[in-house]
C-alpha cells in the first residue's frame, strides 16, 4: 500500500484517530482508578472501535489487528465478564504504545509496523472471560511451561485442550510452533527475493537530492549493519546448537538465509549506499528468522535470551527504519519554507505593522524547527515530525478574516492620509492619529486572535502524566496519587511541545526521588500514598507551572556538602549559600543527589538539561523545598515564543534587548565603588558581591580599550542559578517585541537570540544571556 501525504483520507483519519489516541492515553490510566465506571469503559471501547473502523477503511491491517483485539477485551470488560486489574493494564498500556508507534510511522508516511506478536498473544489471552483465563493459566503453570510456550500455544488459536500438550517442552510443542515458522519463513523468503522492492528502489532517487541527509544516514546505516551482522550471527548459532527433532525442515533453510543470503543482501544494500531508513525496513524480516527458528527448538534458557535480544534488535531496527528516512523526505523541505516565509514578511515597509502580526505564526515555529538544520540523530529520535496541523474553530478564523478586513481599511485610510496636502496640517494630524489609534486596536486584536489559533491546552502535556506516574510508581513499588489542576490553561503550541520533555523529567524525578517508599512515609507519620500535584495557570503574559510533591524534600546541608564534594565550590562558598540557592544547585550540571543513578530519572538528561530547556523558552525555574515535607518546583514560561517582553537598552548608539523574564532589577551605580575579587570585578549589592560585566566592552567594536565609565546603569539578571550585573549606557524601557531569527549568515552567533525591529524602525539584537556568558564571560 502506498502512503500518500496528499491523501486527504489518510490525513483525516490521522487527525481524528490521534485525538482519540490522546484521549485513550488518559482514559486508560483513569480506568485503573475507576475500574467499574461503565461510561469510561464504553468510551475506551469506542475509542479502539473507531480507530479500528478507520484503519480498516484504509486497509491498515497492523492497526486493525491491535485495535480489534483491544476492542474485544474492552467489550468483555464493559459487559462485566472481566475485571480491570493492574496486570490487565500492564498489557493494555503497552498496546497504546504500539498504536502510538504505528501512528508515528503513519505520520511519516511509512507503513505502520506490525505489533509485537507476543503482545498480540497476550491480548488474545485477555480476550476470555475471567474464569477461563485463570483455569488455563493454572494448567500452563502445572505443565511447568514457560510463559512463551503458553503464549505460543494459545496464540495458535488452538482449543484450550492444546495447552497441556504444548506445555510439554519437546515434540508436541513443535507442531504449532512449526506452523508459525513456516509462515514467517514465507514472509522472509518473499522479502529476500525482492531486495529491490519498490520502496528500496525509490530510495536512491530521493537520496540523491539530499546530500546532507545522506551523510548522516550512511553513518547510521553503518552502525545498523554492524548490529545486524553481529547479532544475526549470534542469533543463528544457538539455534543451530539446539536443533530438536521438531525443528528439522525449517532449520537448514533458516541457516542458509541468515548466513549467506542475508549477508549478500546486506552487502548489496551497503555497497549501493542506499538510504538508511528504507533498507532497515526490509532488513527486518530476515532478522526475524533466528528467533523463529529458536522458537521451534523448545525453550532452554539460552534461547530465551536470544529471543529477547532479538526483540530488542527488532525494536531498534523498527525505530531506526522509521526515523531514518524522515530527514530525507519530511523535515528539510519544511524548514526552508518556513525560513522563506519569515524574511518575506519583514522587508515590506508599507504593510510592515500589518505583516508583523500574520508573520508571527510562521516565525514561531522557527526556534524549534531551525534547531536541527541538519537533523541530528537524537533530535530525530525524540520527535520525528511534530504535529503539523492545528484544529481551529472556523468561527475564530472568521474573526481573523474580519480583522484582516479592518486592517485593509486602516491601510487604505493611511494611504489616503499620506497623500493629503499639508494645507490643513492640524486636521491631517488628527486624522492620522485617529487612523493610527485604529490600527493599534486592530493589530492588537489580530495578534491576540492569531495567537489563540496556536494555543493549545496544557492538557496535551499533562495528559501523559497519569500514565507516567502510574507506570513509575508501579515499577518503584511506591504509592502515588497524581492531582492535576488547570489542565485547560492554553499556551502556544510550540511551547506545549517544548515543555513536554522537561516536565516529564521533573515528574519522574518527583516520583523517583521526591516521594518516599510507603513504609518510610508511614514511619514519618504521613499517609502511605504520596501526592504529586501538577498545576498550571496563567499569570499575566506568563504561564506558571507547578510540580509539587509531599515527599522527603531536600536538606540544604546535604546539598552543600554535595556541592563541595563535587568540587563545584569550596566549603566557605557553600556555607554562604542561602537555602534557596542550595536547592537551585540541583539544577547545576553534574549535580545529582542520589548516589546511584536509577534508570528512571537518571537516564541521560539531568536537571541541568531541564533548566537549560526552560531557559531556552525564556522561562525560569524556581525551587522550594522543606526537608521532610516536600518539594515545590515552579516553572514560568511566556505564553508564546514569538512575542517577548524585553528591556531595551542602548550601548553607544546601538539598541539591544534583554529578555525581561531574566531581569531582576535595575539600578544606577557609582561605578568607582566596585571591587575586584579574584580577578572579577564585583559590586556589593545588599552585602552580596555581584559580578559585574561591561556589555559595551563585549559588544561594541573598539570599545574594549576605553576607560570604564564612572557611573552607569546596572541591569541585574538571572543566568542559571546565578545573578550577574551588566553595565549598559542607557536604559530605554520595556517593549514587547516580535522575535525574528537572525539571517542565515548570522545564524548561531553566540549570545544573540535573534533580532527585532524597534518602534523607530531600527534593528535591535535580542540577547541570549546564557550564550553571552559562555562566549564572553570566559573566566566566570
Amino acid at each position: 500500500m502506498a502512503l500518500d501525504a496528499d491523501d486527504e483520507i489518510l490525513q483525516d483519519f490521522l487527525v481524528e484517530a490521534s485525538e482519540i489516541l490522546e484521549q485513550l492515553n488518559e482514559q486508560l490510566v483513569e480506568l485503573e482508578q475507576r475500574a467499574d465506571d461503565t461510561d469510561l469503559l464504553n468510551a475506551v471501547f469506542r475509542g479502539f472501535h473507531t480507530i479500528k473502523g478507520g484503519a480498516g477503511f484504509l486497509g491498515l491491517t497492523p492497526l486493525v489487528d491491535v485495535c480489534h483485539r483491544a476492542e474485544d477485551v474492552f467489550n468483555l470488560l464493559r459487559n462485566g465478564e472481566k475485571q480491570v486489574t493492574p496486570e490487565l493494564m500492564d498489557t493494555m498500556l503497552p498496546v497504546l504504545d504500539v498504536l502510538n508507534e504505528q501512528f508515528e510511522s503513519l505520520r511519516a508516511l511509512q507503513e505502520p509496523p506490525e505489533a509485537d506478536p507476543e503482545l498480540l498473544h497476550r491480548l488474545e489471552n485477555l480476550k476470555r472471560p475471567d474464569g477461563a483465563t485463570q483455569v488455563e493459566e493454572t494448567v500452563a503453570a502445572a505443565g511447568g511451561a514457560s510463559e512463551e510456550a503458553f503464549v505460543a500455544a494459545t496464540g495458535t488459536e488452538g482449543a484450550p485442550a492444546s495447552v497441556p500438550q504444548t506445555a510439554q517442552p519437546a515434540a508436541a510443542g513443535g507442531d504449532p510452533d512449526g506452523d508459525i515458522t513456516d509462515e514467517e519463513f514465507e514472509a522472509l523468503l518473499d522479502a529476500l527475493e525482492q531486495p529491490g522492492a519498490a520502496s528500496v528502489s525509490s530510495a536512491p532517487a530521493q537520496s540523491g537530492g539530499e546530500p546532507a541527509g545522506d551523510e548522516i544516514t550512511e553513518d547510521e546505516f553503518e552502525n545498523l549493519l554492524d548490529e545486524l551482522h553481529g547479532k544475526g550471527k549470534f542469533g543463528g548459532a544457538p539455534a543451530e546448537g539446539a536443533v530438536s527433532p521438531a525443528g528439522e525442515a525449517d532449520k537448514p533453510a533458516s541457516d542458509e538465509i541468515t548466513e549467506d543470503e542475508f549477508e549478500n543482501l546486506l552487502d548489496q544494500l551497503h555497497g549501493k549506499g542506499q538510504f538508511g531508513g528504507v533498507p532497515a525496513g526490509d532488513a527486518t524480516p530476515p532478522a526475524e528468522a533466528p528467533p523463529a527458528a529458536a522458537g521451534t527448538t523448545g525453550n532452554s534458557a539460552s534461547e530465551e535470551i536470544t529471543e529477547e535480544e532479538f526483540e530488542n534488535l527488532l525494536d531498534q531496527l523498527h525505530g531506526k527504519g522509521k526515523f531514518g528516512s524522515v530527514p530525507g523526505e519530511g523535515e528539510p523541505p519544511a524548514v526552508p519554507s518556513q525560513q522563506a516565509e519569515v524574511p518575506k514578511a519583514v522587508p515590506e515597509p508599507p504593510a510592515q505593522s500589518a505583516a508583523k502580526a500574520p508573520a508571527q505564526p510562521s516565525a514561531a515555529p522557527k526556534p524549534t524547527a531551525s534547531a536541527p538544520p541538519a537533523p541530528k540523530p537524537e533530535a530525530r529520535k525524540a520527535e520525528p515530525q511534530g504535529e503539523t496541523t492545528v484544529r481551529v474553530d472556523t468561527k475564530r478564523l472568521d474573526d481573523i478574516m474580519n480583522m484582516v478586513g479592518e486592517l485593509v481599511l486602516v491601510r487604505n485610510r493611511l494611504a489616503t492620509l499620506a497623500n493629503v496636502d499639508e494645507s490643513d496640517s492640524t486636521q491631517a494630524r488628527e486624522e492620522m492619529a485617529k487612523a493610527v489609534a485604529n490600527l493599534d486596536v486592530v493589530t492588537g486584536d489580530l495578534q491576540a486572535s492569531v495567537m489563540k489559533t496556536r494555543m493549545q491546552p496544557i492538557k496535551k502535556v499533562f495528559g501523559r502524566f497519569p500514565r507516567v506516574v502510574r507506570d513509575l510508581s508501579r515499577s518503584l513499588k511506591k504509592e502515588v496519587q497524581l492531582e492535576m489542576h488547570g489542565e485547560e490553561t492554553d499556551l502556544d503550541k510550540n511551547l506545549v511541545e517544548a515543555l513536554a520533555d522537561p516536565l516529564v523529567h521533573l515528574v519522574r524525578n518527583a516520583v523517583d526521588h521526591g516521594i518516599e517508599m510507603p513504609d518510610k512515609r508511614e514511619a514519618a507519620g504521613k499517609p502511605r500514598t504520596g501526592t504529586l500535584t501538577l498545576a498550571a495557570e496563567q499569570e499575566g503574559d506568563h504561564i506558571l507551572l507547578i510540580i509539587e510533591d509531599d515527599g522527603g524534600g531536600m536538606e540544604p546541608d546535604v546539598l552543600r556538602s554535595k556541592a563541595v564534594e563535587k568540587g563545584m565550590m569550596d566549603e566557605d562558598a557553600a556555607a554562604r549559600l542561602s537555602d534557596k540557592e542550595c536547592f537551585e544547585l540541583i539544577l547545576a550540571p553534574g549535580f545529582s543527589t542520589k548516589s546511584e543513578i536509577s534508570d528512571i530519572s537518571g537516564r541521560g538528561v539531568g536537571m541541568d538539561v531541564v533548566k537549560t530547556r526552560i531557559a531556552q523558552l525564556n522561562g525560569s525555574v524556581d525551587i522550594d523545598s522543606e526537608f521532610g515535607k516536600g518539594t515545590r518546583l515552579s516553572i514560568k514560561v511566556p505564553l508564546t515564543l514569538a512575542i517577548m517582553p524585553t528591556l531595551m537598552v542602548k550601548l553607544r548608539a546601538q539598541t539591544f534587548a534583554f529578555p525581561l523574564v531574566s531581569v531582576v532589577e535595575i539600578f544606577h551605580l557609582d561605578l568607582r565603588k566596585t571591587n575586584v575579587v579574584d580577578g572579577q570585578r564585583v559590586v556589593m549589592v545588599r552585602e552580596k558581591a555581584l559580578p559585574l560585566f561591561y556589555l559595551t566592552r563585549w559588544l561594541v567594536t573598539d570599545a574594549a580599550g576605553e576607560p570604564l565609565p564612572k557611573s552607569g546603569h546596572v541591569v541585574v539578571v538571572n543566568i542559571g542559578t546565578q545573578q550577574v550585573g551588566f553595565v549598559v549606557d542607557h536604559l530605554i524601557g520595556q517593549e514587547e517585541v516580535v522575535i525574528k531569527p537572525l539571517g542565515t549568515m548570522l545564524q548561531g552567533t553566540q549570545g544573540m537570540a535573534g533580532a527585532t525591529i524597534t518602534g523607530d524602525g531600527k534593528i535591535a539584537l535580542i540577547l541570549d544571556l546564557p550564550g553571552l556568558m559562555k562566549a564572553y564571560g570566559g573566566q566566570y
Binding site: 478507520g54 477503511f57 486497509g59
Partner: protein, 363 residues
C-alpha cells in the same frame, strides 16, 4: 428526486467517508449527519430522511436505542452499520429487533476487496432501501404511495403465474415434505416474522438460506431459536433434516441436501465461484435433485435474483414457490425475480406468509 439519507456515526472520519461515497451516486443525497444517537433522533424528526445509516457504538445514545426512539417517533428505514463480528452480530440483531431494516458491514473489505465495488454495493443497498420510501411497521396497514403507484399488484401475479404454468397445481394440504426459505436484504427481520408464526409441532423439516457472513449466522440461529416455537440451528455438516427443526445455512459456505438410506442430511461445502455464500440457488437446486417429495420454497425480501434458478428446478420437479409481495419487501428483488420468471404460485404480504405456511403443511 434523489433518495435523502441521514448518516449517523460518532466518528467524523467515517461520516465523511460514508457521505462521500453516497454522494458519488446521483440517486442519493446526504441531507444530514449526526454524531450520536440523540442527535440522530432529532435530525430524523427534523429532516425526515428516506433512509438512515446508523452506527451502533456511539456516545450519549447508542444506535440501538436511537433506532427504537426513531421507530417510535418518526419511523424511517434504518440500515445499521455493523462490525461483522460475533459481538457485532448480537448488537445488530438487537437493532433489527428495535426496528432497523437491515445492516451494512462496517468494514468495506467485508463487502469486497475492491473499493469501487464496495462503494457501488453500499449505494445500491442504501438506494434500494431508501427508494422504497416506507418503513416496515407501517406497511401492513397502509401500503405506501410508491407501492400503490406500481400497477403490478400482489393479486394479479399468482393468477398469471398459474395460468402460464399449469403444471403447478396448488399442492394439497399435508403434501409438502419440506419448507425452504431463501432471503437476503431485510431477511433477518422477515424470517423472524415468518418463523415465529410456526407451531412447535411443525410436521416437516425446514431449511433457511439467509445471505449473511459466517460470524453472524450462529448468533442469528440462536436468536431465532429463542423467539420461535420450532427449533432453529445453524446447520452443521451431516445434520439430519427432521420435522420441526429449521437448519440455517452457515454464512460464508454452501448448504446442500443429500438423501441417504431414506433419510436426508445436509452437507456444508465450500463451492467456489458463487456470488452468495450461502446461495439460495445452490440449496434449492440440491433440494430439487435430492429431496424426495414436494418442497414449499418461499422467497422473501432481498436484492438481486438469487433463488430464481433453484426455484425453476424445484418447480419442474413439482414443488411450489411462494414469494413475498412488493409492498412488504425491504427490497423487492429476489421475490420479483421468481415472480417475473413465472415460477410463483402465490405472492403474499409478509405478515400472512407464516400462517399460510403453517396451514399448508398442517396434517
Amino acid at each position: 428526486m434523489p433518495v435523502r439519507v441521514l448518516v449517523v456515526d460518532d466518528s467524523g472520519f467515517f461520516r465523511r467517508r460514508v457521505t462521500e461515497m453516497l454522494k458519488s451516486d446521483p440517486r442519493l443525497d446526504v441531507v444530514g449527519t449526526a454524531a450520536d444517537g440523540a442527535e440522530a433522533v432529532e435530525k430524523a424528526a427534523q429532516l425526515r430522511p428516506d433512509v438512515i445509516t446508523m452506527d451502533i457504538e456511539m456516545p450519549v445514545m447508542d444506535g440501538i436505542t436511537a433506532v427504537r426512539r426513531i421507530m417510535a417517533a418518526t419511523p424511517r428505514p434504518i440500515l445499521m452499520f455493523s462490525s461483522l463480528t460475533t459481538d457485532g452480530a448480537r448488537a445488530t440483531f438487537d437493532a433489527l429487533d428495535a426496528g432497523a431494516v437491515d445492516y451494512l458491514p462496517k468494514r468495506f473489505e467485508d463487502i469486497s476487496r475492491d473499493r469501487d465495488e464496495a462503494k457501488r454495493q453500499l449505494c445500491e443497498r442504501v438506494w434500494s432501501v431508501g427508494s422504497k420510501g416506507h418503513t416496515r411497521p407501517a406497511v401492513p396497514k397502509t401500503p405506501p404511495p410508491l407501492a400503490r403507484a406500481v400497477p403490478r399488484t400482489a393479486v394479479q401475479r399468482p393468477v398469471s403465474a398459474i395460468a402460464s404454468t399449469p403444471s403447478s397445481a396448488p399442492l394439497r394440504r399435508g403434501q409438502v415434505k419440506l419448507v425452504a426459505i431463501g432471503t437476503s436484504t431485510g431477511g433477518p427481520v422477515a424470517l423472524q416474522e415468518v418463523l415465529t408464526k410456526l407451531p412447535g409441532n411443525f410436521p416437516v423439516p425446514l431449511v433457511l438460506i439467509q445471505h449473511m457472513p459466517g460470524t453472524f449466522t450462529p448468533a442469528f440461529a440462536q436468536r431465532l431459536d429463542q423467539q420461535c416455537a420450532i427449533t432453529i440451528r445453524e446447520a452443521k455438516d451431516g445434520d439430519e433434516l427432521v420435522p420441526g427443526t429449521a437448519l440455517l445455512a452457515p454464512g460464508g459456505r454452501q448448504m446442500v441436501v443429500e438423501s441417504r438410506g431414506g433419510r436426508q442430511f445436509v452437507r456444508i461445502t465450500d463451492e467456489p465461484g458463487q456470488n452468495y455464500k450461502p446461495s439460495v440457488d445452490i440449496t434449492f437446486s440440491s433440494l430439487a435433485r435430492n429431496y424426495p417429495g414436494p418442497v414449499l420454497a418461499v422467497v422473501l425480501t432481498g436484492m438481486g435474483a438469487d433463488g430464481r434458478e433453484g426455484a425453476r428446478l424445484l418447480k419442474q420437479g413439482g414443488s411450489v414457490i411462494w414469494a413475498q409481495d412488493e409492498a412488504t419487501c425491504v427490497v423487492y428483488g429476489m421475490p420479483a425475480a421468481v415472480a417475473e420468471a413465472g415460477l410463483t404460485s402465490q405472492i403474499m404480504p409478509l405478515p400472512e406468509i407464516g400462517t399460510a405456511i403453517a396451514r399448508q403443511v398442517a396434517v
